[in-house]
């Protein structure tokens, strides 16, 4: 009996090993996409920008997502300069509204606004990989596996599809084999496709509600020699969220 169990276990490992080895780039990215786009989520995070003059700027925000990231609401809590500002993104960030509390004005933004830096940080709105962007906007090609940050990783090249208006012509993603968390992403600029423009490092992975979650993100801008660190202070998955939360009415609260 124990021998049978051992054999079954061995077969399972071998099958899963063979299976994982045979994953295409597209399948790996699909698994990453499924992992990061949970049904609903809430998070509270800090974002600390380290400037070229070594000054720090710290922001605290709350974020809610629904329908696997299709709906997203971000509200800034600190600092005082941006307190109350909020961004609503619907249809995988194809529709964006921004609320400015000082003028009580809601402005509809076009998708090009995703290229702008989030509060002057090294993250742009499109870096957040909202919704299905990895799947819809890029072609995935699996490269040779590599060790990265001490973990066995799939290495996948994402090449921007023709006609897609996104800042990066290419991305290289290292995805941990054991949990499909992307731990390093290199972003390549259109003007210099051979040079890495920015690098995102995701670490401090914790399993929250059964979902492996990177709690720390560092975006390094190689051109400007600046970096932004984002840390999740609180995360909840699969919580009850009403659709009315993702409306202009709630944006202005």
């Amino acid at each position: 009996m124990p021998k049978k169990i051992f054999l079954s276990f061995l077969i399972l490992i071998l099958v899963s090993g063979v299976y994982s080895e045979e994953l295409t780039g597209k399948e790996i990215i699909q698994k990453v996409n499924d992992l990061i786009n949970v049904e609903t989520s809430y998070s509270k995070s800090t974002m600390t920008i380290t400037t070229t003059s070594d000054q720090k700027r710290t922001f605290i925000s709350e974020s809610w997502t629904k329908d696997k990231g299709e709906k997203n609401l971000v509200r800034y809590l600190e600092p005082a300069r941006v307190k109350g500002q909020a961004v609503l993104m619907l249809n995988n960030a194809d529709d964006i509204w921004m609320f400015f509390p000082r003028t009580q004005r809601v402005r509809k933004l076009a998708t090009h606004a995703k290229k702008q830096k989030m509060q002057g940080s090294d993250f742009s709105y499109e870096d957040m990989g909202s919704g299905e962007t990895f799947i819809n906007d890029f072609e995935a090609e699996r490269l040779e596996d590599e060790q990265k940050q001490g973990y066995g990783c799939y290495k996948v090249k994402l090449t921007r599809k023709p006609g897609i208006d996104i800042s990066y012509v290419q991305m290289i993603i290292w995805v941990r084999k054991d949990n499909f968390v992307p731990i390093v992403i290199d972003y390549y600029d259109e003007d210099a496709p051979e040079r890495v423009l920015k690098t995102l490092i995701q670490s401090d992975i914790e399993v929250i509600d059964g979902i492996p979650t990177a709690m720390k993100f560092v975006m390094i801008d190689k051109n400007n020699n600046t970096q932004t660190e984002m840390e999740l202070l609180e995360v909840k998955y699969n919580i009850e969220l009403d659709d009315r939360m993702f409306t202009e009415r709630n944006l202005k609260r």
Binding site: T51, T52, R81, D95, T103, A113, G120, T226, F246
Partner: protein, 399 residues
């Protein structure tokens, strides 16, 4: 008496927030202090006006369905506190003004303190009700908003906050993407009160709104002084507006448009139209262009009257010329500094104002803004070089 009232209010706020913090509950206290210096080269003099503004905001979520917000502004002015509008106008216009009336065209900058906004928002399941002095922001235009009869933005600084208006407002959501808004801003009587109805919805990637407004529009005849009012003669006129606005995306560009037709009871009907577009390039440069037509404005600068100019300065009408274009380009020069330039061009009289700008994040809650203003048009045009080239520097500290 006013000073006394202010100090009583200030003492009350200090007591409430410092002495009795336990009574504060979930009340947020925030705001900013703003120091600003405006400089202008006028008739061989370089004048300076300094302004200090303290804005204190309160916001309290008293329950999940009741919130209260207010802000109090205290502003002091120093330096050149009286500006004579006639210094900026062409001799063709000023020569017609009787000598005795000339001192009347001085705009004073007097210290002031006021409750800018104070409102209660009651959120019922089917609608939100907002009662009190509140900002009313209408339209999709960046610089000009034809459907907004309550505010006129400063073309040099169009994103600056607008004053509060006393009103009762109901926002009724219809489904997830549509809202019906009814607003009543009371005057002395029902007939001279402002009423607004707006329906806003979403179709594909576009927002659409249809707005109807009735308002008594009070503007002045700046050639006739009314001794009883100790002011220029008031010319109230009933204004009925029907407007439409949209904002969305076309071929990757942000696009917006706004149109309003105004039926006037005694003066000529007119319309206003705005069309705009913007784009952010991969290298982070942001560009915006907006066209504005108002048929109240004149096609030829030789037709501009003293009333046109004064109404424009007093923000009673949006522009003296009929057609104008606003262009903006901004780029983050460093991680802390954004540089940009706006150009405002009157297509009617071919004058142009250039406004280079720098925005610098000095520290977490301190921003510095510097704007220059260079008018290049010939005398008598909208952006004439006699309008006072200069600019301003503003330092704002948020708390």
């Amino acid at each position: 008496m006013k000073k006394k009232t202010f100090f009583i209010c200030a003492a009350g706020i200090i007591f409430f927030f410092l002495i009795a913090p336990e009574a504060r509950g979930d009340v947020d206290l925030f705001g900013y202090y703003e120091a600003q210096v405006i400089g202008a080269d006028v008739k061989d003099h370089f004048y300076q006006l300094f302004a200090n503004k303290l804005r204190v905001d309160l916001k309290a979520d008293l329950s999940s369905s009741v919130s209260f917000a207010a802000n109090f502004d205290y502003i002091t002015y120093h330096g050149k506190k009286e500006w004579n509008v006639l210094d900026f106008l062409s001799s063709e216009i000023t020569s017609k003004i009787p000598e005795a009336m000339r001192p009347l065209y001085v705009i004073p900058f007097s210290d002031r303190h006021f409750l800018d906004n104070a409102y209660l928002r009651l959120s019922f399941k089917p609608f939100d009700l907002t009662l009190g002095k509140q900002q009313i922001s209408l339209g999709t235009g960046y610089v000009w908003n034809p459907v907004d009869v309550f505010n006129i933005k400063d073309i040099l600084d169009p994103t600056y906050e607008q004053p509060g208006h006393n009103a009762v407002r109901a926002d009724v959501p219809i489904g997830l993407g549509s809202t019906l808004t009814a607003l009543y801003s009371p005057g002395e009587e029902w007939k001279n009160s402002s009423k607004m109805l707006q329906f806003k919805t979403r179709i594909s990637h576009f927002d659409f709104a249809v707005t109807g407004i009735e308002k008594t529009w009070v503007f002045h005849d700046y050639t006739v002084f009314d001794p009883a009012q100790m002011n220029f003669q008031e010319l109230p006129d009933k204004r009925k507006l029907l407007g439409a606005s949209t904002a969305g995306e076309l071929l990757g560009l942000g696009v917006w448009a706004e149109y309003a037709y105004n039926w006037m009871e005694t003066t000529d009907d007119f319309y206003e139209l705005v069309v705009g577009t913007d784009y952010t390039f991969d290298f982070q440069t942001y560009v915006l262009i907006e066209y504005f037509r108002n048929t109240l404005g004149k096609n030829d600068h030789r037709d501009y009257t003293l009333n046109d100019w004064m109404r424009s300065f007093a923000q009673e009408q949006k522009a003296v010329s009929r057609d104008q274009v606003y262009m903006l380009i901004q780029h983050p020069a460093t991680d802390l500094m954004t540089v940009g330039m706006s150009a405002i061009c009157s297509l009617s009289d071919h004058s142009l104002a250039l406004v280079p700008m720098v925005m610098y994040s000095f520290s977490q809650n301190v921003d510095i803004y510097a704007y220059l203003n260079w008018n290049t048009g010939k005398e008598g045009t909208y952006f004439a070089n006699t309008m006072g080239n200069g600019g301003f520097v503003r330092v704002r500290v948020y708390f």
